[in-house]
Symmetry: C2
Subunit: 387 residues, 2 copies
Amino acid sequence: MREVAVIGVGLTKFGDRWEAGIKDLAAEAGLAALEDAKIISSEIEALYGGIMSSGRFTDQEHFAALLADQIGLKHISAVRVENACASGGSAFRLGYMAVASGMHDIVVVGGVEKMTDVTVNEATTALGGAGDQEWELSQGITFPGLYALMARRHMHDYGTTQEQLASVAVKNHGNALANKYAQFHRKITIDDVMKSKMIADPLKLLDCSSICDGAAAVVLAPMEIAKKYTDTPIKVAGSAQVGDTLRLASRDSLTGIAATRIAADKALAQAGVERKDIDLAEVHDCFTIAEVMGVEDLGFYNKGEAAKAIAEGETMIDGKLPVNTSGGLKGCGHPVGATGVKQVVEVVEQLRGDAGARQVNGAEIGLTHNVGGSGATVVVHVFRRAD
Amino acid sequence: MREVAVIGVGLTKFGDRWEAGIKDLAAEAGLAALEDAKIISSEIEALYGGIMSSGRFTDQEHFAALLADQIGLKHISAVRVENACASGGSAFRLGYMAVASGMHDIVVVGGVEKMTDVTVNEATTALGGAGDQEWELSQGITFPGLYALMARRHMHDYGTTQEQLASVAVKNHGNALANKYAQFHRKITIDDVMKSKMIADPLKLLDCSSICDGAAAVVLAPMEIAKKYTDTPIKVAGSAQVGDTLRLASRDSLTGIAATRIAADKALAQAGVERKDIDLAEVHDCFTIAEVMGVEDLGFYNKGEAAKAIAEGETMIDGKLPVNTSGGLKGCGHPVGATGVKQVVEVVEQLRGDAGARQVNGAEIGLTHNVGGSGATVVVHVFRRAD
């Protein structure tokens, strides 16, 4: 298979985008990525679009074809991918496969979600579709409730504290201050998190990522022609996707996500790099406990040791392993389908050296970790600056 | 890229499957395909599942991971694909790409839809998601209405008659009599169609495919190992997917689907076969006018000449070009996500010589044609008996 590079990236502002419909959001990010790649639409052969629940949120299915049309791509192959909150990461992996295989040369990957045109109850039902409706949601638990079960067990087994979980939110909101595309630009404290409204004990409002609108897009090309488009192509060095049961009750453990462990091993092996080589990681923090489990399952920390390390600042931008320099899902907001692609945008900007006040000094290798549901889909990618 | 073969196929009975949930349907077809391929689940590396609107129909998103779990596939890569009524065909193409590229060896492709657990109004709204919600459906037109516009214009331009359209339904219901998986086992006449209830003038009830439940699955492998599993591997000789605008109003013509023309040219060129070499075709007949336009756009007939030829029996099983030997969407029913995969199952059974009373004598090369919405996505595949 061929080497693949990211040659262009684009984002919309995340948040309550009342003025923009789903087409507008997708076009805003898509056109920004095309402009960044300095590419014209007739060069693009295929599009993979990640979106979770456009049917529930906007009545619109068949979204990839609509998006292709919206950014001026005529008669191309357009595929919508839906893997719950990992829709964006899965779409990116398909784009990678399409280019690596030689089936297509220039490919666009987009992710979008327009979540704010329905009531909170409708949004909660739609998001519940990421879990097992028959065996979980219809029994009365909510989606935050599933992560709350994991948090409770993690606290029980390892002594993880609510204040340590809160430190994830504090760090990520802090990082988001320097990201103009993030939904939230407000410094928060441990005390703010602890005093925020209880959502699913022990997870409080500020432990949860937000329902919001947004889109992200990237352009991929074979490495051998990437230099035609950009001086700083970023190589997709490793790609892995691994699944698990939708329902938590069928898993061996509540305190970690097995698919993350396996996917990380595969992606790192393909990239030929070790964990110590990773300069920064975008980790799926849909809830604060998810980032704690994420950095443990990715193998950056032993099980039960991450929360304390995060609280002590080890994963801050100037720390040992910067995590969620973009602000993560917590600080940026979590327009579901967009998130996995936005993670890629952040790592690409960091490896290009274009991350401004969020820049990790000397970043050469980065990792993205995108989780669907409570861990039934995990997508891990490893990126590095091209030689 | 490597040569790819279909080594196993499975279907459920299509129809009002009140006793079966979406998981049951998917598992029924998936396990049948695994059994047909004589394969054990641990050999399977990836799954691509086509489903259009599980969120609207069943509250369940994240369906590919659920399906993988349901048929005993642990920690594999599972991706849900949604391209409206072409979801199954798009999923098949991704499975083909995954094997052809060398990324995966053994891959399962599934398609499913569980449509009968909601009211007809809810189903109509969900299916409308295949068109452009903002610029078509929200203006008051229904999805059948879009095809009615195409039928009216075809009648105006070419003198196509309602009786000729009805002959598509009569043929396909006739073929379905010999397909035990088909929803309908009832011989109908031109008169039955003409007297059936008007849905969207000139399309009557029996011009329309049905809302129903069903699933289909196939197993793919690289040709070099396919003979380990089956004596009759069927080669995927050509694969193409092409898009267009969702909204009819932006197209150059109402009497044909440009994406079908382009996709057929590409798939046939890849396969190295000409139209006259095709022994049978499964053509997307969501409405009778769709089959007429389909065989014209595929290049089997000149524009405006197909309806007469169909009415004269040229596309019957013993005709010049057998079309929809399975019974098509009209006779089998149209559980949206399943349809594109079911088309592949039919062609594979025909090329294996296993189609029983529906068998096309000496069939060696077959074609599938799967359309999303009113033509914004078209997927064409060409299959041939392996040498």
